[in-house]
């Protein structure tokens, strides 16, 4: 291919008429794209002309680059003081056609046009949205509460088979990851505790530390966070995908409330499985702590377990179970709600899954803080 000829743009004035001569290769990606920027300087020459004509007899190759140039000249002419008329007839026919096509688009949109918003406006919009979400969540919680008794009596539009599948997915499917996370957390607690307690010769109290921390705090929280990422994200993604494929509309048309058919079984599944997973998580956490204690402090497992029995009272478990039930309900409700309010595109599914996980983790930690404050006040 021969090297492209340098593009040239020349403007002459003949009385009341301007002549724009375009020659050479006008191709995208060459230096002269800048020509458009300084165009008004070049065109100042013909500012007072009534008419602009083109001469393209020496034009070689051209592409979108030339279209942009001519459109820039047109735009300049429209804003110029004397509004010179532009005659395009001397330009290549294909170029004229492209110009006509681009001209036909008036930039009208039927849907809302996204406007660049100021920071203040953004904050306001976010606040209104946040308030709207809060109201929606309250609405969903209320509606769920109203459905609890009908659900227990079996008077809701839901399938028992779905509940079993959901329980399987959220329960048995999570055993592996919950074992790994909780045993490691138990082990880490034991590591940190062992170093500190050894200094005071109080190594035996490692069982108290690990026992209370795991049963009361770490097992419920870590289990809930795993479930948020694993199950909450999945719920939001499933429901928002159903939204996108009109599956939820199909339910609504039939008069089957999505709340009963989709949300209630998910809440029930998580609320039922979370306490089970919590106990399992405790077991794993304590085992992890024991292994490290035995290895680092040379305690025998029997001594560790004996000390543990004295240290962990039943109330610790009650608190843990209560927490995990609340966390389960919260994760299920918030992720289902995020799924239900998602839009209908693929991007929305991703966004729903992300916000379900984020909302779930933040919510679980906030709930845990509330629990800590309450138990502190109650002296439990």
């Amino acid at each position: 291919m021969p090297a492209p000829a340098a593009p040239t743009l020349k403007v002459d004035r003949k009385g009341n008429e301007g002549l724009v001569t375009i020659a050479g290769d006008w191709l995208v990606g060459q230096e002269h794209m800048r020509a458009v920027v300084g165009l008004h300087l070049v065109l100042a020459e013909v500012e007072h002309c009534a008419r602009l004509r083109f001469n393209s007899s020496n034009l070689a190759h051209w592409d979108s680059d030339l279209v942009i140039l001519v459109r820039a000249i047109q735009a300049w002419a429209e804003s110029a003081e004397h509004r010179p008329s532009i005659e395009l007839t001397a330009l290549p026919a294909a170029l004229q056609q492209l110009l006509a096509l681009a001209q036909a688009d008036h930039g009208q949109h039927t849907s809302d046009v996204t406007t660049t918003a100021s920071a203040l406006r953004w904050i306001g919009a976010q606040a209104f949205r946040g308030w709207g979400h809060l109201v929606e969540s309250m609405d969903l919680i209320g509606a769920t509460a109203l459905n609890i008794i009908p659900a227990l009596l079996g008077r809701v539009h839901a399938r028992f088979a779905d509940l079993i599948t959901l329980m399987q997915d959220s329960g048995i499917g999570a055993l592996g990851i919950i074992a790994v996370v909780n045993s490691l957390v138990g082990a880490i607690l034991a590591f940190v505790g062992a170093i500190q307690l050894q200094r005071f010769g109080a190594g035996i109290y490692i069982a108290n530390l690990v026992g209370v921390a795991v049963t009361r705090e770490m097992a419920p929280i870590m289990t809930a966070i795993v479930m948020t990422g694993r199950t909450g994200g999945a719920y939001a993604a499933q429901i928002s995908t159903m939204q996108g494929s009109e599956e939820i509309d199909a339910l609504r048309v039939l008069g089957i409330p999505p709340l009963q058919y989709l949300v209630l079984p998910r809440i029930a599944a998580l609320v039922a499985m979370m306490p089970v997973l919590y106990f399992y998580g405790c077991l794993m956490g304590l085992a992890g702590g024991m292994v490290v204690s035995v290895a680092m402090l040379g305690l025998s497992p029997t001594i560790f377990l004996g000390q543990l029995r004295g240290a962990v009272d039943p109330p610790e478990f009650y608190i843990g179970v209560t927490k995990s039930i609340c966390f389960g309900a919260f994760i299920a409700i918030s992720s289902c709600q995020i799924g239900l309010r998602a839009g209908r595109s693929a991007a929305e599914v991703g966004r729903a899954a992300t916000s379900a996980v984020v909302a779930g983790i933040i919510g679980v930690i906030v709930l845990d803080a509330i629990f800590a404050a309450c138990t502190n006040v109650l002296g439990i």
């Binding site: 199909a250 039939l254 008069g255 089957i256």
Partner: protein
């Protein structure tokens, strides 16, 4: 009133009076007034993005109209209260654009779910009904298959079987032939005709596929995107032959323009 007028009134199953649908402040279609005769196949026509599907959603109860009334057998759908609306909704069968089959259930379970949830039938009766509905659309072989394993045309037919589950009076079709090849879409048209005749249902169909419109619809309304209201009433064929409105003419004459080169269309527009 004289008896013929009463008779006409009685034959109208669905009536829209000054219906306006909007998303917030964005009006999609306004001031629509039309009636759907019992037993007819009624077309909601118009170009892409003119709000046909949105209007349909207001007719079958998924989108609250901004103003105006939707009457089903002279009963206002939107002021009747939630419980009553759900009851009226049992008379509807809706085929959504993509079929909207519940993806976690097999085709058979999809058809069975409305029966299981909304009727007191026992399992053998439901199974029998499911087989019948699937047979009507020629999908018995796919009963145990998940929707993800079906082709687009099969999904629509399965969706149709589900729409038929509760023996509806009124069938709503949202772009039934969208995304289907001409032969499959022709078959679906035939199926719609046969089902209408067999079940005595009234069909309201949203479409911009001219062959379908001319082939099966005997009445309709033409919605315009620019003026945001109805600009033509009557059967698609009738509109094609008699309407003087340029938008309707352009829409209906598309068949003859197809032979023109793109350049020809450009020049014709300019």
């Amino acid at each position: 009133m004289s008896s013929p007028a009463c008779a006409i009134q009685e034959r109208m199953l669905v009536r829209c009076e000054k219906l306006t649908v909007a998303f917030g402040s964005h009006v999609v279609q306004s001031n629509l007034t039309f009636s759907v005769r019992r037993g007819s196949i009624f077309a909601v026509m118009g170009g892409s993005g003119c709000g046909k599907s949105t209007v349909l959603r207001a007719l079958f109860g998924l989108l609250t109209p901004a103003s105006g009334r939707v009457l089903i057998d002279d009963e206002d759908l939107w002021t009747s209260g939630k419980a009553r609306r759900a009851e009226i909704g049992r008379r509807f069968g809706v085929l959504f654009q993509g079929g909207a089959l519940w993806s976690s259930l097999t085709v058979g379970e999809n058809v069975a779910l409305p029966l299981r949830m909304l009727t007191d039938l026992n399992s053998p009766a439901i199974a029998e009904l499911v087989r019948l509905k699937l047979a009507l659309v020629g999908m018995t072989a796919a009963e145990g298959v998940l929707p993800s394993a079906l082709s687009g045309g099969m999904r629509k037919r399965a969706g149709l079987a589900r729409a038929l589950a509760l023996d509806p009076d009124i069938l709503f079709f949202d772009e039934p032939s969208a995304g289907l090849d001409p032969i499959t879409s022709r078959r679906l048209d035939d199926l719609i005709l046969e089902l209408r005749d067999g079940l005595g249902a009234t069909v309201i169909i949203v479409s911009h596929e001219l062959p379908s419109l001319f082939g099966i619809c005997d009445d309709g309304v033409f919605l315009d995107a620019d003026t945001k209201t109805a600009i033509g009433h009557g059967a698609p064929r009738h509109l094609r032959d008699t309407s003087q409105h340029p938008t309707i003419q352009n829409f209906m004459q598309r068949v003859s323009q197809e032979t023109m080169t793109p350049r020809g269309i450009l020049h014709a527009d300019g």
